[in-house]
Assembly symmetry: C2
Homo-oligomer: 376 residues x 2
């Protein structure tokens, strides 16, 4: 590894070290040697990822007492209670103990499932995440959120369980389909918009090189996004209030995913992009300058995301609104909207009336990419 | 309520208030009013407990926005992943949100399941435990341990999720069968032995009145046991090391339960009593005075516990030893035994060789109640 960034995230359970760089997985051997020494290690991954990137962790076998690989399905299909139950039974059958270790190697779904499995196995064993997608490297693997889905809602069962370390090797992103890379960049855009204007400008400047998976371009962007996220999590580890800034775009994003069925049409990042577009519309009705909203919309448009299947019956405005109201970020008192107020600024508000949301949702679904602030 | 004890347990997530007294459930209305105000409340209980003690919480309906009762089976049968999954689906379907509340009303199994369900629903909602068995009041409801069983092991899936409050109403203990009261007293004996010699002496003095469920006798004993447990948890909330003192008797106790099948012969407290008897045998081989071991054995004998079904094939020494080795308290390096060293003292040791355990186990199973230190 030629150069790497190292970010420390302090949280109530201890500290997470986040390493970002080209070749970070191969270079992690020394760092994790003591953590693995003498332990049983459960490597949670998918057959596809194991084939592509498993060799980068080949050194694990000579550092631990015993490695047990637990294969799970690709994508959101991994995030079920049944899969979690299967992992727990296999970990127990394989002699897993409280001081056993879990390593996840895969995308956000693998991190979420492996983190949940680690967090609840014998009331908690330590985990290191090795995220292999941009979305997981910049976002999902950081901050301790873990969980699985229920048929009626995404991430509805889970807990906060911080990893001991996150090893983000940007070299592995070269194997990602362009669509997944673009979807991952959505979360980076989201964080840059409200937390890091310099990163936002960099994204505008280098988007094409990033979409080409150039490791030299990806490394500083992933590191900046990871640092932004780590700072938010450190300030509010249990998502009391401030951390909810990261839910920007997720209220409608999750509703879209639930309405279309997980894995049924949109990638998570794509759904968040549409949620972000919707949030921009609500925000210009408050304090966001239309020109800023337009900059964000234009940047998202350059990602060339899959179109929203607006004709789907589950995306009829009343049906989608019901999913929005059921999202777990809703509280008893109503829906908390995270909205940008400017580049580098945001608010969390419960002041938007449901009929205003419904009306905007109808206009939005008719033409999601329409210029913001323009007449219908 | 005429008089009650109030114990504060500070932990990393905040503070738990433990209230112990006769009539504590009816008296909790003012205390919990703000916690319930405007919330959806999920009351997790069993049909039997609801019938017996539900009316003591009748005031909940006028303090919350909406109560949803979730009934679960009695006893260990509640502690399955399937039951947890059902609760989560029902909570979601009923519109549960992050600021919804969970109240458990029942024994240790109901506390464990409800705490686990609360801890993982939307990554954690707050819970108040209203334990209705002596075991739950003195032990299980305190300290944040939650979880369910897998077929291959008890409490193998769960997390630490501290309750906001524990309301222990000793009046409800009058409805307990004598057998359950006696089993609950085993955990009290366990804590008194290593943590509170004055409580141990009180147990020796008042055991008959306690077994008659006299509330005036039970209140100070439950309060003392709860205070002892709270002090241990406060010192070591995540069970790093010191808290493992509470596992005294549980290594063999859990193995017996697993070997006999949960709910298949012994109550948890009864299994712990046999585990404690076994620990006494190992302890006199180290630093415990035989006379002290005999005092403990004599006190346990007065409880009139169900006999150990020694003839069960799963209790053949090699079979039971395999269960001991699989217990979750085992670590990669061997089995950590918690052993009393004197009244008010204990050690945690990994120095006992497996062949010595096997030999002692064989002698123990032949005659569990035999005087300790006597020749075979």
């Amino acid at each position: 590894m030629t150069e790497s960034a190292e970010i420390a995230l302090r949280h109530p359970q201890g500290e997470t070290t986040i390493v970002v760089g080209a070749g970070a997985l191969a270079a992690a051997e020394e760092r994790l040697a003591a953590w693995l020494d003498g332990r049983t290690v459960f490597l949670v991954t998918t057959p596809r990822v194991a084939l592509l990137h498993g060799p980068r962790l080949g050194w694990v076998d000579r550092r631990c007492a015993r490695r047990v690989t637990l294969e799970v399905p690709d994508g959101e299909a991994a995030k079920t209670l049944d899969e979690a139950g299967r992992l727990w039974r296999e970990m127990l059958a394989a002699g897993g103990k409280r001081d056993s270790r879990v390593i996840s190697l895969g995308g956000g779904s693998v991190c979420d499932l492996a983190g949940f499995a680690a967090g609840c196995f014998l009331r908690g064993v330590e985990v290191v995440h090795c995220p292999t997608t941009l979305l997981a490297q910049a976002d999902a693997a950081i901050g301790g959120k873990t969980g699985v889905d229920l048929p009626a809602g995404k991430n509805t069962v889970g807990l906060f369980h911080h990893p001991a370390a996150v090893i983000a090797d940007v070299e592995v992103l070269g194997s990602l389909p362009r669509r997944e890379l673009a979807a991952g960049l959505v979360e980076v855009v989201k964080m840059a918009l409200v937390l890091d204007p310099a990163l936002f400008a960099r994204l505008e400047d280098r988007l094409d090189a990033l979409l080409a998976a150039d490791p030299a371009e990806l490394a500083p962007v992933v590191a900046a996004a990871a640092a932004a996220k780590a700072a938010v999590v450190e300030r509010d580890p249990a998502e009391g209030d401030y951390r909810r800034v990261l839910n920007l775009g997720h209220t409608v994003g999750h509703a879209l995913e639930a309405a279309l069925g997980y894995g049924g049409g949109l990638l998570h990042g794509e759904a968040v992009a549409y949620g972000l577009l919707f949030a921009l519309r609500l925000a210009v009705g408050r304090s966001l300058e239309p020109a800023t909203a337009e900059r964000v919309r234009a940047l998202l448009a350059r990602l060339g995301l899959a179109p929203l299947p607006s004709a789907a019956p589950s995306l009829a405005p009343p049906a989608l609104l019901a999913f929005v109201q059921r999202d777990k970020k809703a509280r008893e008192g109503g829906i908390d909207w995270v909205l940008p107020t400017a580049l580098g600024g945001f608010e969390i508000t419960r002041e938007i009336r449901l009929d205003a949301v419904a009306a905007e949702l109808e206009r939005f679904l008719a033409d999601p990419w329409r210029a913001i602030g323009a007449a219908a």
